[in-house]
């Protein structure tokens, strides 16, 4: 799309599709505008006061015309709706990703945590051609993660995880902006997405000076916060086993079922037994809200995620 003078760069798989949709809509806009403006000009000239045009026999049964352009508009609108809704589902229902990165927003900076434990502030390095899923949360107010070149955006909320994905198609440095007003320095809460060829990205990961992955750090926290006291297989407390939990279906005490995804794990840790009680367990888990910060939460969740592959321990 770079041949259009003021078109933004597109650097992701989804950007190109969204641009196609935008162009399609602009085409419809131009057609309808041309039609309306054209008629207004033609009628304005032809039927100006004093012109000799024939003004007899005004249309009596306007219904025919009105139904015509109503149906026509509705049909065009529905096409756009379906096209856009389809693409939205594609964007906001992340497929299994090659890479998952946690992002924490706070006034007025972005913190990114790679699964290998690498941390960045206001920068996010990602490999070219791999699909990246972001898990975002905020430590304070509502922010919004926006990368114009990728045509992706999602609000970032305190108290829960939001997720979306992208797949870069070009290397380079791309503007990241916060786009939900979040206080005085909202305009300077920006950053850069750095897309690198995959080999360079792999090398970049190793030179970050990190010794432990997120999951390994999470294991240490698991003991530090006392989670293992109840959730360890040898514990005398009847607590759900966490091995294989992530991604499985959980039956709740109120009869509903839910998937044990990142949000579920996070809610269990923060709210304890007050909110989500799996069936068959007593409500004794304490709530850790206010005691565990977002950074540590991410590591704990990453650790529990890593247990998804282990065998179920016998109880």
């Amino acid at each position: 799309m770079q041949w259009v003078p003021f078109w933004p760069r597109d650097a992701s798989v989804t950007a190109q599709s969204i641009d196609m949709l935008t162009i399609g809509e602009l085409a419809l806009v131009v057609v309808i505008l041309g039609f309306v403006f054209g008629l207004m000009i033609v009628f304005g000239l032809r039927y100006r006061r004093g012109s000799s045009a024939d003004r007899s026999h005004l249309v009596e049964k306007t219904w025919h015309w009105e139904i015509g352009w109503t149906v026509g508009s509705l049909a065009a609108f529905l096409v756009l709706f379906v096209w856009g809704a389809n693409m939205y589902v594609w964007l906001y229902e992340p497929p299994p990703a090659d890479l998952e990165i946690y992002v924490v927003a706070k006034q007025w900076m972005w913190k990114a945590e790679h699964p290998g434990g690498q941390r960045e502030i206001n920068e996010l390095h990602v490999p070219l051609g791999k699909s990246v899923r972001l898990l975002l949360t905020s430590e304070d107010v509502v922010h919004s993660f926006f990368v114009p070149a990728f045509r992706v955006k999602h609000d970032v909320l305190p108290g829960q995880y939001e997720t979306f994905w992208f797949k870069p198609t070009e290397t380079g440095r791309f503007l990241l902006e916060c786009t939900q007003y979040c206080g005085t320095q909202h305009a300077h809460m920006g950053g850069v997405i750095v897309v690198m060829p995959q080999t360079e990205y792999a090398r970049w990961l190793t030179i970050q000076g990190v010794h432990q992955s997120l999951a390994q750090q999470g294991e240490a926290l698991f003991r530090k916060y006392g989670c293992s006291g109840c959730h360890d297989p040898n514990s005398t407390v009847h607590a759900p086993s966490l091995a294989g939990l992530y991604g499985s279906i959980v039956h709740l005490q109120n009869g509903e079922t839910t998937i044990a995804d990142e949000r579920y794990l996070r809610d269990c840790i923060l709210l304890g037994a007050s909110r989500i009680l799996p069936a068959g367990y007593p409500p004794v888990m304490p709530a850790f809200a206010g005691q565990i910060g977002e950074d540590d939460l991410i590591k704990l969740v990453a650790y529990i995620q890593s247990l998804a592959q282990t065998q179920r321990a016998s109880r």
Partner: protein
């Protein structure tokens, strides 16, 4: 030409002269002028904030205003323009003045409530001015939590109280109009003979009645949360920030239709009169107004497509949003068709009306783009959205407001305004407006976020164009102040019906007498019975005019 006024020596302006007769008036026409004064005052405050914003944004580094001040400027601009100008503008001025006249009534159903509405409006204005003087608020006009409740260091509670009180002014006005239009129509004025302006005010009043109380409760909750430190919307205390957004937008989406519906009704009056022909598809136009009012309650979460609502919700709300666009499209096509076989002149009111149709269509079509889920992901919270809603609210509502102001100026004041200056102002407005806001579509798609006091240098050229346009707009909006003021003293006196229009309001003198009509009119004809072929028309009392 028959009129329904005997030789009445005084009119509503001259009947009484004391200050008390103005401040304690029950006359809807005087109350309309009181509202004119109030909203004009706030229009200039909101415009002043906009001027500072556009001056500041000429420079990407953002050096003119401190960040905190800039943030308070855009918040003030939004709050003032939405609640203290756009929402009251047409209903409390031209609605108040002309609804009784157009339906053949002597006044509104509840004149004291009407006056009370004005006092409440000013009380809310005092709260807002207090908020401004002690330093303002920077949350944006949308007051999103938890920023507004827990983190903002501005004066959120006075601002919330100001809007809360303002809401009751709105509710009282809406209540008055709904009841008046139901109960005080003159004999023969059936629903399907009502001028479309009356239909529009009716539709808007229903929305005001039902939506505004939800805003009141929402503001009460954030004020209580902030004041008492409780956690209604605070996630760490179990609250949900998204719930605030749902409650806020449940009102604020219908609110934007509150801002456009009266303008649509007005434009129908103008186009029919100056094209000298009946509106194309009267009943379609009336039903479209009501359909917009009803469907507007079911689209609110289209402001939240990227906020974290479920995909299912987003899809439903996008679909509903496309539905609400259909009656608007019908109206645009019908207005265009009303020009067909008309006998058109381009007086200032018509220029404003045609400008409305053009600019509203652009705004509405870009609204379709924002309603499209995948596109909205990219353009949400960017200048694209700002351009979209300014095309509707400024290109639309403000244009219609000026069109109506000029159209009804002779009736309200008894004076004719200078036509050449008015046409110049209308054209300069149109040009200045497009220069101001069209570049913002481009800025938005390029990725310029809203509410930024500084921005990447690549965007500067568009901001400079936009600010240049704003300076032209400022001139265009000041011109009417000058020549309309001039006309009050030196303008030629107007007769009862300078435009040869068909509505009941033109059957009384200019300005009207205090009780509008000497005898209640009997309505015998539908509105807009103009004959473009020979210039004759049938007024709504049945009288034929060659």
């Amino acid at each position: 030409m028959t009129t329904l006024t005997a030789d009445l020596p005084t009119n509503y302006l001259t009947k009484e002269h004391t200050i008390a007769s103005w401040l304690l008036t029950k006359d809807h026409k005087r109350i309309a002028l009181l509202f004119f004064a109030s909203i004009t005052f706030f229009f200039f405050i909101g415009g002043f904030a906009a001027t500072l914003i556009r001056l500041h944004l000429v420079n990407p580094a953002g050096n003119l205003l401190q960040p905190d001040i800039y943030n308070r400027m855009f918040t003030m601009h939004g709050i003032v323009m939405v609640w203290f100008f756009l929402i009251p503008s047409i209903p409390t001025t031209m609605g108040n003045f002309f609804i009784p006249l157009m339906i053949g009534a002597r006044d509104l159903a509840f004149p004291r409530i009407n006056l009370g509405s004005w006092y409440l409006f000013n009380l809310s204005g005092l709260f807002l001015l207090y908020c401004l003087f002690v330093g303002g608020v920077d949350t944006g006009w949308t007051f999103y939590t938890p920023y507004s409740t827990l983190f903002a260091n501005g004066h959120v509670i006075p601002a919330a109280v100001a809007v809360f009180v303002n809401g009751f002014s709105s509710i009282m006005t809406g209540l008055n109009f709904v009841v008046t239009i139901h109960r005080l129509r003159a004999p023969g004025m059936t629903w399907m003979r009502l001028p479309l302006f009356v239909w529009a005010i009716y539709a808007v009043s229903v929305v005001m009645l039902l939506a505004t109380p939800v805003l009141a409760m929402t503001l009460a909750l954030i004020a209580i949360e902030r004041w008492m430190g409780v956690g209604i919307f605070d996630p760490s205390l179990g609250g949900d920030p998204l719930l605030f957004q749902h409650m806020f937008w449940f009102y604020s989406h219908p609110a934007v239709y509150i801002m456009i519906l009266p303008a649509m009704g007005l434009v129908s009056e103008l186009i029919t009169c100056f094209a000298r022909r009946p509106v194309f598809g009267y009943s379609g136009m009336a039903y479209a107004l009501m359909a917009i009012a009803v469907i507007s309650f079911f689209v609110w979460a289209h402001h939240m497509f990227v906020a974290g609502i479920s995909i299912f919700s987003a899809v439903v709300f996008s679909l509903m949003t496309f539905f609400v666009a259909v009656p608007s499209a019908i109206k645009v096509f019908n207005w265009t068709a009303t020009l067909h076989k008309g006998s058109i002149t381009f007086d200032a009111p018509m220029l404003y009306a045609l400008g409305f149709v053009g600019l509203f269509t652009i705004g509405g079509l870009t609204g379709l783009m924002v309603a499209t889920l995948a596109v909205d992901i990219h353009v949400h919270d960017t200048y694209f959205v700002i351009a979209h809603f300014h095309y509707i609210m400024v290109g639309g509502t403000v244009s219609a407001f000026f069109g109506g102001l000029h159209y009804w100026w002779p009736k309200m004041t008894g004076r004719l305004y200078p036509e050449m200056w008015a046409r110049v102002a209308a054209i300069v407005t149109f040009l200045g407006f497009n220069l101001t806001f069209f570049p913002q579509f481009i800025l938005g798609y390029l990725g310029m976020p809203r509410r930024y006091y500084a921005y990447p240098p690549d965007f500067q050229v568009w901001h400079v164009l936009s600010s240049a346009g704003a300076s032209i707009l400022a001139v265009a909006y000041t011109l009417p102040l000058l020549y309309l003021g001039w006309s009050l003293i030196w303008g030629p006196r107007a007769g009862p019906n300078p435009w040869r229009a068909t509505g009941l309001e033109w059957l009384t003198s200019s300005p009207p007498p205090q009780h509008n009509f000497a005898r209640t009119p009997i309505v015998k004809a539908p509105p807009y019975q103009y004959n473009p072929a020979d210039g004759s028309y049938v007024a709504q009392d049945g009288s034929v005019h060659a």
